[in-house]
Symmetry: D4
Subunit: 222 residues, 8 copies
């Protein structure tokens, strides 16, 4: 029996999601509205949660017609179909942080992804390093986290500072927030890659889904 479903223009990877306990995911950007609708309709024949990332409202509306249970998370641009009620250990939480308010949409993409996988997610927003006392006011919550996702644009320094404070894995999530020499997230990405703090690794610019998915994966380890 094949481990994927063939749609001609897409091969839905049922095999992978079986292995990971993660939602079936589809990257919507660059696909037509029809393709997105058909892919999610096909996925809906299975029993897994479904996540459509970088989805427009128009895509959601087309999906909604075929899959009435679909929800749309406007800020994070996610289409969600909840089919399982997963519950990970609530004592171990993932902490999602942002340097600024403008980084919240990407951070929410990470947070919602991890929540859909059943994890408890805590949030601390707008604690950029230029006002570092805001960060230290949250130190208890930071120290108690099991895995951390740190979303930051501009200079991206928050990941280094947080990485130095904790001894848990920090997933650095550069965002495209900024202007001028931020170059669409390159400055933040480079800053994070050059972090001297132990335990910091980096995902692609604006890749909230990848960060949330990895955070959930690590948080499940025992």
């Amino acid at each position: 029996m094949s481990s994927f479903d063939e749609l001609g223009f897409a091969k839905i990877d049922t095999h992978r999601t079986e292995r990971c306990g993660a939602p079936e995911a589809v990257f919507c950007e660059g696909k037509t509205i029809e393709q997105v609708a058909k892919i999610i309709q096909k996925m809906n024949e299975g029993s897994r949660n479904i996540l459509g990332t970088r989805a427009t409202k128009e895509m959601f509306e087309a999906v909604k017609k075929e899959v009435p249970a679909a929800e749309y998370h406007d800020l994070a641009r996610l289409i969600i179909v909840r089919k399982e009620d997963l519950r990970a250990d609530p004592d171990r939480y993932i902490l999602v942080m942002t340097a600024g308010t403008s980084d919240i949409p990407v951070a929410e993409e990470a947070a919602v992804t991890a929540e859909l996988m059943g994890h408890r997610v805590e949030r601390i927003f707008d604690v950029g390093v230029a006002g570092i006392h805001r960060l230290f006011a949250q130190q208890e919550k930071i120290n108690a986290a099991n895995v951390l996702v740190v979303a930051a644009g501009m200079e991206g320094a928050l990941a280094s500072v947080v990485g130095g404070l904790v001894s848990k894995p920090v997933i650095a999530l550069p965002t495209s927030i900024g202007y001028g020499a931020s170059f669409g997230g390159i400055a933040a990405l480079l800053g994070m890659l050059n972090s001297c703090a132990a335990g910091v690794s980096v995902v692609n610019i604006d890749n909230g889904f990848g960060a949330g998915r990895l955070a959930g994966m690590i948080n499940s380890m025992r």
Copy 2:
């Protein structure tokens, strides 16, 4: 007698197409609608197939008025005027592959170009390396191909993997699909240029026409 037709703003290279057995081609992007229409109208006085690449629907409609036989391939953004019925050896086929669904438009530009040159083209879409069992399910079709075009954005790794599987030329076709550190196709382009697999060469980002044209040229060799 001159080997090109002079339109003032364009010199139609009748000479080259005579040599290659390929369609007369015009790169439409950056030209005015009027220029495109006049160029294709002029080309239509000859007996070759005609291909307008990166053409908008508006350009097509202007062409259609002058050349009623013109067709438009929406996904691949191609204007096509079929004037010859070319038939290459059907036992030798060109295989056009994509890593994702979003790479299909560029892949189709390659496939349709080669088909217009008379070649048999097979397609395998959405077999990116992150779910490599989808690729191996197609191994027979891959092994039997005579020339391969591999379209991929993001990390572009599919070209290397395919290049390692076959002993036929692989034309790596980077696409601008991706976000963040894909930098509009640069990541895929660099990945393909650095491929260690023998027989891989690379064309410009999103240059489906060039890939299809070269695939047809190689597939004609004997």
Copy 3:
């Protein structure tokens, strides 16, 4: 009492190492031989393992005079002082892989770092994607790993392929191996950042220490 020792030119961060169970580490490159020797001599007053990264043989020899127990790992350019005998659960191993032979030094930096933290490390070298059957011959060992470090230069595609095969965290470690358009590891770095596989995150080019340190940190989670 201060959580670091002050040497004037360096502040040894005794605080951090207490928290993490990791070796005290010093990045040797760019420091003078005398500075390296004094820092490691100072660290040697404590009870932790010590790791000097990117160390030259000359640095090691100066250290050796002050700290006779120091060892040198030539390939990985590491100075090691073993003071603790840490033993993590041997059933959970970290798998360190390389795409090519030339990536081994950076991979060894990761492997030795994790071993010094007490982890069992397995190695699979020279399984680049251009000859992917070499990779699949190792699939059992890959599937059974708890955390994976994948070192690759050139196109860096191995991380994506491995990330698609497993449902454990993959730490992608780009190396500066390559020439021409590899741009000292940029091509591999970009390829890894653009990976579609779930669970892949990236560290700096040639940062074997960081990869090994993070692998150990994740492998300790329960």
Copy 4:
């Protein structure tokens, strides 16, 4: 039976070379002298031709002790062990061209690679586009070629011009020759990728081996 030989630090891909009729090849740069010697010694147990690319004289001397039949091509930095006498059809030749004298070493790497595969190779050197009458003096030889390799640094324009002259595949081989804004071959690489000529594809900067290998592969098609 395994399709590769395991040396621990390297897995020799006997499988691939069986498929392609090409030499067994080892990329020597970044490997230790001992590794190169052991790899070639192992390869020498088989019956294929062997090619070590980007090899230093010191590497060659270490190889020579183990494999007395080894030769060294100084200009192209190739170690060669001839074990088969392959002969392709001499009526179909590969033409290797350079824009300047300084591009010859890279071009020779391509030419010798193709010759070792049994192909007839013709050479035209120092015909850069800034003195284009030198190119046209060779037009007969250019037109009669079956596949062309065009090596050029600086602006790399020769590939476009040649691509426009012929209706055979042109493998554009950018070299790192140049200074200032040539950026180690980037200018030539970009020029070649942007070529409007049909049938042009590009390999990595200074990748003479890859160009020669692909040229041989295409020249064998029928």
Copy 5:
């Protein structure tokens, strides 16, 4: 007496134009419609020709209200106010060439600028190097030119080829025409900077005005 007129937001450089015999010029992009109108109105108090570059139609219409003699060159996006009838030696002409049809707008900006300075300008369009016989069909006209402006996007190789054919100054004018790895004109710019042909110098991407202005300046020398 001051050599410039003060408008607060702009200082019109009456001094410079007196020296050069060139039109008074204003770079319109990035200025408000009101600013453009006021600057040209102020310039109109003098006796020089006026040229507004990178001007929108809206800017022109606002200018036209204040300066009824103003004309608009749509393709080249120029606002022109003719106040002098300058006539340079018609035996010495400036030749403006393009590689493609899409380069014509930038080339026209150069040509019209030089014509406004009184120079005779000849044009040859669409003679890119991928079909080099189209270029050679014009060799007589090329050889007889006194100064040449060569506009090209994509690989920009035309400037090198023309520079090798003539012994007159060639002003290479890179355009932003292209896609993918043309990077908005960078590929053409780098190609032109690396030209080995004597007598080639380069202006900014799409800087037709600068090229035309310099061509006029050189063509006036005696």
Copy 6:
């Protein structure tokens, strides 16, 4: 008592503004209209001046409803709420200069910021180095300034020239004005970073607020 106000999506840094005597500032770009309105409404509960940078007219209108005293500076895209009447020493003025008319919006962002801090600001616009006599006509005003902000796009050379004329700090403010190889302000930024003139430092491209804020800070020193 906390030194910041918590809005969930933002933490208003009341602490910092207390220390510096500067306005409370909010970077509006990338925030929703609602977020901007709520942040400024919250800030308005304090007694400091408020500055919203990179604000759209829509944002202003939403703010205006909640904070009727709010003003909008169209050119500089600033929302301003004046709550204090600060007056610095009028004998020491900050001089804000631009190379061109198009640089004025960014320069005004700097000037208005400094004025809101109570400083006297003088302006000299459109004195780019290509017409350097315009600059020297202002030498008296330049020499008498206490701190200078120099906004320039394109080649950004004005900062170097001014830095060589004065012995006061020059804050170089690159703007994104230009086209082609100005690369959105990179050329100006690099030019300014490479200035040999003493006393020149650089802020981010288009960061008028930062330049004005720093100018005010330095101008307050005694």
Copy 7:
């Protein structure tokens, strides 16, 4: 009377140093040993302090022969000739900080420059953000500084953190310390340019002299 001394290959700018109270400075890199010696010999005829930056030991020895009072600061690569004993207000000190030990040479170039101008300089080394408690242990000394120079390589985040702590000007001094994606200081430079902290401006990578010179200039303001 001329304001500079003419040496043919150099024009010593006696004019500028008269204005600023700063040392006469010569950038030694790229000059011949003879040129450096002659320039400093000529400067020695005046009464100002002299500073040769980026000087090799060989340059110093040649200078020493002509100017016996010359000293050499090995770490900072400075040639110093002390001719004035300048004393600025000791209550106002400049604080020079580094993120790591390897940043000390560049930081010393800044510190010594400012000291030669008569300023009191305090130093805090090795307080990178990945171990931020080391930084906060110094907060008193940081808060009391009048101007700050923050030297950092890798991610360069220290400048942002310090900028958020103080309300005095922070001169961010990126260093080329790092590896991989630090790109010779680019990551640090971009991080610093994107700092959200008020009062931060940036000088060129490794430009310790410029940072020290500007710090002295600001510290002299009253």
Copy 8:
């Protein structure tokens, strides 16, 4: 009769030099000593002046054995064989300027090239814009020049300033002098390309020969 001499590895372009009245030139970098010697020996059979650029002392010594009349210009790294005594109109001079002392070698390459073509060359060195009064002290000499070559590294602003002062062609010659964000001449190159001054065009970084050759070509026009 052929217009070039064939050496196998090089084709000496006797045709081009006949047309231009310029020296026969050979770019020596990247060629072997033997190749350089043979090329110049072959050129010496003709009657033209010969120029070897970017030549090492070792190359010169090998040439000297075959061509005793050869001279070596150490600073500009030129091999010169004087065979003609060309004399252009001495009233029209080419002015070669540098921003700094370190730019002199590249400037001399330009100056010597033009002198060998028979032109009178004047020199003004070390007049960078950070001390602009040094430049204005030379204004008479600048105004009287017929063509100008402006060599500058770092920010490269001198070309813009000079271009604004004169109404003659200015050939901007970026040099690789600088450090940090000068990126080997890129900052200067970009600055020059973005110059707003009329009449400025740019050659490759460090391309003194090209600048001198073009200056001579323009200076010969009448």
